[in-house]
């Protein structure tokens, strides 16, 4: 059984429709540690030793956040800047994260069609996530395709519920290691691979 750490970054959770539901669903899956970064560090003062211990104690790392300007909210970036230290996460002696899995769980306002070469955003979500991908690689982690909630502005309540359900199933599959491993490097998102 794999242990999952969700680093959740949302600066205005009280206004959230999507992530509050996803977060609630995630909290109910056994074996998941849910860390609400903005709640834990409202002054951006990240407790680095604690965060590093958390990373050592888990097998799967999830960055869950809304897609702000094609990237993550500021505190998650701060977390990456400070916690992924040289000689902890990378560098000759920095092997603590080797062999772990990482993935992004994000929501976007635009639909899937927007995030194509011909679409309004010009790049795919996966392309935008290149910095996360490379960060994971540099730390010796396997970066899975992202779980994406597209078109979040227009989703109806029951559709959000379906996404939350889906997310819970993804977490269960990650925990029990039951995801199909074939060719997921090519998948644009992990959504279609969830059993």
């Amino acid at each position: 059984m794999k242990k999952i750490l969700i680093l959740f970054a949302h600066p205005a959770l009280h206004k959230s429709r999507i992530h509050s539901r996803l977060a609630r669903a995630a909290g109910e899956v056994e074996g998941v540690t849910f860390c609400n970064l903005y709640d834990r560090y409202p002054d951006f003062f990240i407790h680095v030793p604690y965060e590093q211990k958390q990373l050592r104690d888990h097998d799967v790392l999830i960055w869950q956040h809304p897609f702000y300007w094609y990237s993550c909210p500021a505190l998650l970036k701060e977390w990456m800047d400070l916690v992924l230290e040289h000689n902890f996460a990378y560098g000759r002696k920095g092997t603590n994260l080797h062999g772990k899995k990482a993935l992004s769980v994000i929501s976007t306002g635009g639909s899937e069609a927007v995030y194509t070469r011909q679409g309004f955003s010009h790049y795919s979500v996966k392309q935008f996530l290149a910095p996360f991908h490379q960060t994971a690689r540099l730390c010796g982690m396997e970066y899975l395709p992202p779980f994406v909630v597209h078109g979040s502005h227009l989703l109806r309540e029951e559709e959000i519920d379906r996404y939350a359900d889906w997310y819970a199933r993804l977490l269960t599959a990650l925990r029990d290691n039951t995801l199909p491993t074939v060719k997921w490097q090519d998948a644009e998102s992990i959504n279609s691979l969830i059993p």
């Binding site: 002054d43 003062f45 990240i46 407790h47 680095v48 030793p49 800047d81 400070l82 916690v83 992924l84 230290e85 040289h86 000689n87 990378y90 560098g91 000759r92 490379q134 540099l138």
Partner: protein
């Protein structure tokens, strides 16, 4: 001139109350049956310790009812009263009319003459303000919509006493047409002798005077008196106000209770409201107790034992008839979910006004003496049964409706429950209050400095004057329903006392406290108060951070240094608190307080290293590793030796 008899009487009354009231409260009946029982025990039929003078005591103690209506008025803002005008006149009117008709009809069928039946209907349609309000408030039911409707109806009944008093002589006249001897109405004098128009004018004038005085004059008087800092003078001025308005309204022929109620309403928005409540409350309680005792002592058991079944039957009938009329009234005015049952059960007794009205009818010869005593008996027993009826409501009716409601209706937000109280509104509380208010919270503020109160009210703060070190004050401010209490008063020891009292009496209430220094903070922790803030620490760190900037740190670096220090302090405090708990005696001497804190803090700090959180922004190790890989020696960077740290070479750039 001391009258030994007076001491003895006072002792008997107090002793009886002290023994029976706590017992009655334990059984869940509330204090009223306890007082009544005490009255019965010391009355002429059991121990016989008190006798004829109990009637005089009762008249004196009726002042307690007057005080109670003043307090009810204080709770009732004019806007609220205006909103309830429909229930006062609509419900009240309907209740009085239907109950009068039902009871009069029943009496007529039992063979009383029509005028007697009508008088009985009018007299028995009233309910007991004293018993209802006391019992409801002890059970916390006054804010329930059933309880509020009950208050409205009681208010209307207070008004209705006046026309009833005017009607009774007429009934006497109608009744006597068949008689040979005609009862001459007693000659009227004073106010009642004036022509109607003049009476009305006088009533309006007095009403305006009360409102004017309450709105514009009272606050100046209270400020003047409170400024003198003499508690008993303040009490005296409040009593003066209440007695003055009671006297004024009695003089123009209205019920004194109504007059003080209006005075209360006028003062409901006054900044001294809570202090007024606290001052009057104990006096009211004692007088009401005395009133109930004298009612108990007045029960005529000789009469009861002569016709026990008749009286029991009549009491039951009265309660049933009143309950029925009230039930219909409540349903017509839209009370449901069991609130109509509460309303009907609460008001299903006769009133203490009944004593006065019956004896008035007696002198008018509407009833013979025998009938009068019988009615009085029925009134008293119906009053005594009220607490029992409310227990029935609590144990049977409400659970049934709650079970039913859970099936039907989704949860409702409770009527109160977002209340925040700030105790102490000086330089510290002001900032807390402004922040909460700026974010849309409603705050009740208590402060003991009249000057502050005056200024802040001018700027629209909802502020009340009062000694916040007194628990009663907090209770008056509604600590029972509060969600958060912010303790920012400047008196350190008093703040601890209050916190301890709150923890004991309201363990679920969240407390946020200002502490003077470390040990004060620890005292709060020990009491179980978690949300504590030292008043100087954060400001001192801020100033330190600005000093660092002046000394050459860049702004963000100074900010991070201050943050690091703050979080470091938190872990030190946790450690220090453990020491302090183990070794409390060591810290007792006040003169050494600060140096002790200093020593302890610094010693703990020595064993604790500040963790360098921002290591990742330091590229020294990366550069070293790169140099080893490539075999090149990096330049010695002069900047990394002072406090300025190299920021521009994160790994991914390297």
């Amino acid at each position: 001139m001391y009258n030994q008899d007076f001491f003895l009487q006072a002792m008997i009354y107090l002793l009886a109350a002290v023994i029976t009231v706590p017992l009655a409260k334990k059984t869940g009946l509330g204090s009223v049956p306890g007082y009544l029982l005490a009255g019965v025990i010391i009355g002429p039929y059991v121990l016989g310790w008190v006798g004829q003078e109990s009637e005089k005591v009762m008249h004196f103690a009726e002042f307690g009812v007057v005080l109670m209506l003043f307090l009810i008025g204080l709770e009732m803002q004019p806007s609220l009263l205006w909103k309830t005008r429909h229930s006062i006149f609509g419900m009240g009117g309907m209740q009085v009319v239907t109950t009068t008709l039902v009871i009069a009809g029943a009496a007529w069928m039992m063979g009383f003459r029509p005028n007697q039946a009508a008088a009985m209907g009018l007299i028995l349609s009233l309910s007991s303000t004293a018993i209802v309000l006391q019992t409801l408030s002890e059970k916390g039911l006054l804010k329930n919509s059933g309880g509020r409707s009950a208050i409205s109806v009681l208010l209307f009944q207070d008004l209705a006493v006046i026309p009833i008093l005017a009607l009774l002589p007429l009934l006497a006249v109608i009744g006597s047409i068949s008689d040979v001897k005609r009862q001459v109405p007693p000659p009227q004098e004073g106010f009642a002798a004036l022509p109607g128009a003049l009476q009305l004018l006088l009533i309006v004038t007095v009403g305006m005077a009360v409102i004017f005085a309450g709105r514009f004059v009272a606050r100046h008087i209270f400020r003047f008196v409170a400024g003198a800092g003499m508690r008993e003078v303040f009490t005296a001025s409040v009593l003066l106000l209440v007695i003055g308005s009671a006297y004024g309204t009695a003089k123009i022929g209205l019920s004194p209770a109504l007059g003080t109620f209006i005075a209360g309403v006028v003062l409901a928005e006054n900044e001294y409201r809570h202090e007024l409540e606290v001052t009057i409350e104990p006096i009211k309680g004692l007088l009401l107790g005395l009133f109930f005792i004298s009612v108990g002592a007045g029960i005529n058991f000789t009469l009861f034992f002569r016709e026990p079944l008749l009286i029991a039957g009549l009491v039951l009938l009265l309660i049933l008839l009143k309950f029925g009329a009230l039930w219909v009234t409540a349903r017509v005015f839209g009370l449901r979910h069991g609130r109509h049952v509460l309303f009907a059960l609460a008001l299903a007794q006769a009133s203490e006004f009944g004593f006065v009205l019956v004896s008035f009818s007696d002198t008018l010869r509407i009833f013979d003496h025998e009938t009068s005593s019988l009615i009085i008996m029925v009134i008293i027993f119906s009053m005594a049964l009220t607490p029992l009826l409310l227990v029935v409501n609590e144990k049977l009716v409400r659970p049934w409706y709650v079970r039913r409601r859970n099936k039907e209706v989704p949860d409702k937000i409770p009527e109160t429950g977002n209340k925040i109280i700030i105790a102490g509104f000086g330089r510290f509380g002001l900032v807390v209050g402004r922040l909460l208010i700026a974010n849309g919270f409603t705050v009740t503020i208590l402060d003991s400095n009249p000057a502050n109160v005056e200024i802040l009210r001018k700027y629209g703060f909802k502020l009340f004057y009062g000694d916040v070190t007194r628990p009663e004050m907090l209770e008056a401010a509604g600590v029972k329903d509060a969600r958060l209490l912010v303790l920012t008063m400047a008196e350190d020891d008093e703040a601890l006392k209050i916190a301890g009292w709150l923890k004991k009496n309201y363990p679920d209430l969240k407390i946020a406290a200002r502490a003077r220094d470390t040990f004060h903070e620890f005292e709060f922790y020990k009491l179980g108060v978690q949300m504590v803030q030292r008043e100087t620490f954060n400001s001192a760190v801020e100033l330190g951070s600005r000093s660092l900037h002046f000394l050459g740190f860049n702004r963000y670096q100074a900010h991070r240094a201050a943050l690091t220090f703050k979080h470091h302090e938190d872990s030190i405090m946790r450690e220090l608190y453990e020491h302090w708990l183990k070794d409390e005696t060591h810290f007792i001497r006040e003169s050494r307080r600060f140096s002790d804190q200093l020593t302890e803090t610094l010693q703990t700090e020595r064993d604790f290293s500040i963790h360098e959180t921002d290591c990742a922004w330091d590229v020294t190790s990366v550069r070293k590793e790169k140099a080893e890989e490539t075999g090149l020696r990096p330049d010695e960077d002069s900047r990394s030796r002072d406090h300025g740290r190299e920021d521009d070479g994160h790994a991914q750039n390297g």
